[in-house]
């Protein structure tokens, strides 16, 4: 698995991380190295193996479907970089 420039840029876009031109080259090498390392798994026969879905053999506990929390909008927006009253403010999305 060799990671090329187009793939670096495609992954970066999917991950919503801006990548500078100067970083593409070393990312190519590093991602190739990591993907090469994990390719070791291809030698394991997993044909009749179920994927693991939980680290412990326990069922999650259901809880009553009731409102049991909330009512602190000031806290929710308390750390917002830009806010207006109880709204998070972002650049205009809809023209």
């Amino acid at each position: 698995m060799k990671v090329d420039e187009a793939l670096v840029r495609r992954i970066a876009h999917l991950a919503r991380i801006k990548v500078e031109d100067a970083d593409v080259e070393h990312l190519k090498g590093e991602l190739t190295s990591i993907l090469g390392f994990v390719d070791l798994l291809s030698e394991v026969d997993t044909d009749d193996v179920e994927p693991m879905t939980s680290a412990v053999d326990r069922c999650m506990q259901p809880r009553p479907d009731v409102v049991n929390d909330g009512g602190y909008a000031d806290d929710i927006v308390g750390n917002a970089p830009v806010k207006d009253d109880h709204y998070f403010m972002v650049p205009k999305v809809v023209e």
Partner: protein, 492 residues
């Protein structure tokens, strides 16, 4: 340096109850120690001396009335991955700039409710991604131990580098830590401290900044096995706010310490004898086997055939879960925002500036392995391998009670010595610890001796699910046989 900072939690607890000293005196001694070491070790991202002293006053009043909690007046450090109400929580990342939680994580709340004093927030690898504390936005944390061959400064391990360094250096008596692939046990081994990663589900993850949700588990780092037992008992709890937290009784771990290992079956997994492992690690392991045998344990060779696939599977599962968990950092609701022409460029600019190189690499790997057309080949495959790893352990635990292995493939190294050209070189640090995370099992690292470079080495015990008590029992036997390491020279 005051001898109050050399005490164990167990010793200090007795001293406080017997009124040999006050919580305030104990707290002040630790504040002095922290101030003296702060510049050299950089173990803390933020210190909270006023808060600690205010808590110490409350502790003294409670101790006076004889109503102190289990950790009343004990100075503790909190890894800066745990949300603490009113105190900044950074996860070691620029992207959480100025983030001040309006809530307290369940674990730190448990510790505060038991009377623990929070001395500050401890340094860590950014979002707990690293094995050397070199990826922190707040700078490297150093190991109080130096290499005696060349006097070099060393890394404390990671990701819980600040936790391990501060406990080893006598700045706090115990610290919270988290372990996704070895981040409690590896730094404990590098600093001569005890690090316990409990079974997945034993401690609540609520309020702990998420890295890889199916692997993350919190636990204590302390100077003795007994102290780890005291701390874990308080940290562990069933928490309805964490759906993966398990509702079973938390035993009184202190009661299991004296159990010994007579008649216990200890498994030695042959796959942990890896190519290129230094001779001194092999010798340490043999020494551990001899110690347990001398105390009456039965040593049994076992096989965990899928061991070598654990680390590659981890480097699919952990980045995949991280890429999903870290999607929330977009500059909208908290932390750093870097403006852009539109909302997409704001996201991209914020994440480019806010995340460090290692975090970006892992998000990108995770994004790739989860992307359309690759999910089955990578993520699903890795989860199937995880089933095989877990099955290996289940079969081994039909024959033995506990497994003994080295904690790390080598001793602490110097900053910049590993992973500079190839990130995989750094990842190999977790080769012996990551298996327990993949299978959700408890593991503990106990200091067992010194390397040829004069630095600490640890032995690891891996146990059955929810058998932390059994691990403490064997760990105490190892500690008794190995003897406590001397405190590192205070060169700072």
């Amino acid at each position: 340096m005051s001898e109050l900072t050399d005490m164990t939690i167990a010793g200090a607890r007795k001293g406080l109850t017997d009124k040999e000293f006050s919580a305030k005196e104990l707290c002040e001694a630790h504040i002095t120690a922290i101030e003296a070491a702060d510049e050299a070790l950089n173990a803390f991202i933020v210190t909270t001396p006023e808060l600690a002293l205010a808590l110490a006053d409350v502790s003294d009043q409670k101790l006076q009335k004889g109503i102190g909690g289990e950790l009343e007046g004990i100075p503790l450090g909190i890894k800066d991955l745990f949300c603490t109400k009113g105190t900044q929580t950074t996860a070691g990342s620029h992207i959480l700039d100025k983030f001040t939680p309006a809530y307290e994580s369940t674990i730190s709340k448990n510790l505060l409710d038991a009377g623990g004093l929070m001395m500050g927030k401890l340094n860590l690898d950014e979002f707990a991604m690293g094995s050397s504390n070199e990826t922190s936005y707040y700078g490297n944390c150093l190991n109080p131990w130096k290499r005696d061959t060349d006097g070099a400064n060393l890394v404390p391990g990671g990701s819980s580098g600040g936790s391990a360094s501060s406990v080893s250096a006598g700045l706090v008596m115990g610290a919270t830590a988290t372990d996704t692939g070895g981040s409690i046990r590896q730094p404990a081994a590098f600093t001569g401290t005890v690090g316990m990663k409990p079974t997945y589900g034993r401690c609540s993850r609520w309020g702990v900044v998420a890295f890889a949700s199916s692997l993350d588990q919190a636990g204590p780092i302390t100077r003795t096995v007994e102290d780890a037992a005291i701390m874990l008992k308080v940290m562990a709890s069933y928490d309805p706010k964490d759906t993966t937290s398990v509702d079973i009784k938390v035993p009184d771990y202190e009661k299991s310490l004296a159990g010994g290992v007579k008649g216990l079956k200890v498994g030695i997994p042959k796959e942990y004898r890896v190519d290129g492992m230094p001779e001194e690690i092999e010798q340490l392991w043999q020494q551990g086997i001899e110690w347990l045998k001398a105390e009456g344990a039965e040593i049994i060779d076992v096989s965990l055939p899928h061991t070598k696939y654990a680390l590659p599977a981890y480097y699919i599962v952990a980045p995949a879960e991280a890429s999903s968990n870290l999607a929330r950092y977009d500059g909208v609701r908290y932390g750093l925002r870097v403006p852009g022409d539109d909302i997409l460029s704001m996201y991209e600019n914020t994440r480019a500036e806010g995340f460090g190189d290692e975090v970006k690499r892992r998000i990108m790997i995770g994004t790739y392995v989860l992307s359309a057309g690759y999910y089955d080949a990578y993520y699903l495959k890795a989860q199937k391998v995880r089933t095989l790893i877990k099955r290996d352990f289940e079969e081994a635990f039909e024959k033995v009670d506990v497994l003994l292995t080295p904690t790390t493939p080598g001793p602490a190294f110097a900053p910049g010595e590993k992973g500079g050209d190839d990130p995989v070189e750094m990842y190999l640090n977790d080769i012996f610890t990551v298996t327990a995370n993949m299978a959700g099992l408890p593991g503990i690292s106990v200091p067992a001796g010194l390397s040829s470079e004069g630095t600490p080495l640890g032995l690891q015990l891996i146990g059955k699910p929810f058998d932390e008590a059994g691990l403490f029992q064997v760990a105490q036997t190892l500690e008794n046989a190995a003897g406590l390491l001397p405190a590192p020279d205070r060169w700072w």
